[in-house]
Homo-oligomer: 485 residues x 2
Amino acid sequence: MNVLSLQWLSRSLGLSIAIGLMPAALAQTDNLSLTPAAGGGVVTAKVRAQAVDLRDQALAGSKAFDWVESLTTEVGPRLAGTAAEARARDWAVDTLTTLGFENVRVEPFTMDGWERGLERGAILQPFPQPLTLTALGGSVATKEAGLSAQVQVFESLTALKRAPEGSLTGKIAYVGHAMRATQTGSHYGYFGALRRVGASIAASKGALGLLIRSIGTDSHRMPHTGSMRYDDAQPKIPAAALSNPDADQIERIASRGQPIEIHMTLTPRFTGKVSSGNVIAEIVGTDYPEEIIMMGGHLDAWDLGTGAIDDGAGVAITLESARLIKASGLRPKRTIRLIFWGAEEVGLLGGYDYVRRYQASLTQHVAATESDFGAGKIWQITSRVSTEGKAVVDVIAELVEPLGVAPGATDVAAAGPDLTPMIAAGMPGFRFVQDGSDYFDLHHTADDTLDKIEPGNMDQNVAAYVVFAWIAANASVSDWGWQTP
Amino acid sequence: MNVLSLQWLSRSLGLSIAIGLMPAALAQTDNLSLTPAAGGGVVTAKVRAQAVDLRDQALAGSKAFDWVESLTTEVGPRLAGTAAEARARDWAVDTLTTLGFENVRVEPFTMDGWERGLERGAILQPFPQPLTLTALGGSVATKEAGLSAQVQVFESLTALKRAPEGSLTGKIAYVGHAMRATQTGSHYGYFGALRRVGASIAASKGALGLLIRSIGTDSHRMPHTGSMRYDDAQPKIPAAALSNPDADQIERIASRGQPIEIHMTLTPRFTGKVSSGNVIAEIVGTDYPEEIIMMGGHLDAWDLGTGAIDDGAGVAITLESARLIKASGLRPKRTIRLIFWGAEEVGLLGGYDYVRRYQASLTQHVAATESDFGAGKIWQITSRVSTEGKAVVDVIAELVEPLGVAPGATDVAAAGPDLTPMIAAGMPGFRFVQDGSDYFDLHHTADDTLDKIEPGNMDQNVAAYVVFAWIAANASVSDWGWQTP
């Protein structure tokens, strides 16, 4: 998951909480009626029974964990635009082909490459000791000998913004924040801004470098990387994140009132124009092959970990959901398209390329959604669909209710980061919301590894996605409510 | 805590479990009697009341957390024999002097220095990706260009021992293990042997290097260092520990049956003869100043973390216990000696130096104990004392019972790693046993930092140690049962 997709995340959270308190919203899930559930008319009893069967197959034990095990073991880290990401595409193409999917292909695009180098940090004064830090994605390098300077401590991005012009001349700005773990990850939107824009703001005050408290909720010596951007109007200064215990240390020392001098060496490099790509595979529809039900996750992952929860899990969940349909021998009326996005972490590049490539046929995407919030259980559906679309969503909601999933906000378009450009183009929104209470403990760290995934949670996710795909691909509704932007 | 002290740990665990099942042992804590508690005669009612008051002062909120905050912040990592360990001695001397302790001094000794260098690891084949590893303490370096070789995977040290001679020629041995978290840390003794002796056993089969699964119970990308020793009869080969998730990765790849080639670069260096030392401070006794009640923790810590649980906590707990006595204005009959040991992690060097230095007056140490098992709550007392000594231990046990501490094995001499040489010389044993369920999650890793300590647990520990010190220093018993070796 990428910070650029925060808008949808933040929106969904605020709104879903409000909705949760509204009796009218709760009434939509009232199943006390003795008549068939609302929306029952948009799918046949047979399709409904098939969806239940697929769901229960998933719950009985799916292969989703095996897929993420395979991807994280046989490819491991897979930074956008690198040979490792290319190996991930090979892995995906091989896997999808072996499983018998149709139209398996890579849709390539080019991007500006960036790769991490050496990373070293230390407190020089008053209490010499090493610091654990990592470069933010897209940071420029320090000089080879590194950067040593006095630190000015700020408690927040807001406080940094308030610093007078020129007040950071010759200094490194350190900025803390108070991000906390939430079920929905809602703090990421607000506090993540520090990582994204902090360097240029610090540079505008004269700073030589930026050091931030990791945008994360753990307390391990695990710095969190993630993308950043420079404002072209400001000098480009190197930017790194400290692990939370190291940030605590800086703040404890600062509280003693003595000047702090630190050193950091970062040697990332820009690798020029490099290749990335989305991987696509299909189960072609029998009746409306041109109409698309799309789901997926992103294939790239930050280089520090092996991309298990971000986003091997999403790839594995959606892959397994499609595989269950394929293996059942059933054929959907519409085409079910799996998409494994490339270069999500560095700016949703796969998502933007897709919209450019499919501009002419975007409205043939009946429904599209993405799994990219870890490997926790799904507990909510958010959506933004027309009345007609709602009839389909209601069937999906009814069938996933036994999984512990309840409908949430109905005016949230969010469908996953890589779908942000399609949502902007007016696509109706549908999203399964996962429990992300521990997501930002691991997000963008070396600790994003397979051992953090509970296989049973994966099965629950697959059960939900397979219901989504089968119902959406076979319902009588083909327009869930595309909007004119 | 150091692996060399495993004997006492293992003994205490096996025995305490056995004792726990014995009705006879349980009977010793039977407080249903209406007569005064056993042992009441060895201390006056006034001393007992003073101990209760000191205990309750500690529980009301001690400064123990502040001391460990200060040490871990203002000194941070403090590897034995380095300038950082010297700064820790300065910190201790300054702190103890400021608090008004008597006879504050450093007792120096020399040792063979070792310092960590660069550490890099990677899987080269079949699935290229980085590995997170760290050199074991005392390991030789690889060549500057590193060591690349095929890996032979063993599931245990026993399996490695069974490998035929010459079967590892040209290879790196990887050895896993199945260490689990226990309240008492009992698995460390058994599984820690891999770290200590594994390299020379691998070398005896022809191996070029040793890579082990970290001796630890967490699942983070945090390799655990710790001391190792070479058998002089074998070639010295470089030895490193992988984090547990990295070890999982190696084992997953190995299960696929393909050859694994890995690279490791380690550049530690031996720094020749360097200085370490124990720091001592006293509250001199009024009646028997030559009789010593001693407590402390070790001042050195592995270089990866800041030595919060190992063993800043032990230093802070015992320092605060003595400070409470000092601040109360009370004076003990015997001398209360605080000792902060140097160079524990690299072979209990402070403990051995102490025994050499005080050879002639060892039996004047009435009781000595050490806090070196983290910052969890104390839940048990183990001891090995005479009948006379037991009367004092019973009073201590009675007064710490409200803290959730119960008597355990009575034939366990263990008093803490640095006291191993004194116990070997026949000293009676007394130890407060802490809950170490999460100790080996953090032990010897970069993650051993202040945020892992719960201040309330520290206060409970101080409450116990202050009772120990005050009762032991004022009881009528001056020989708890020294044994002739």
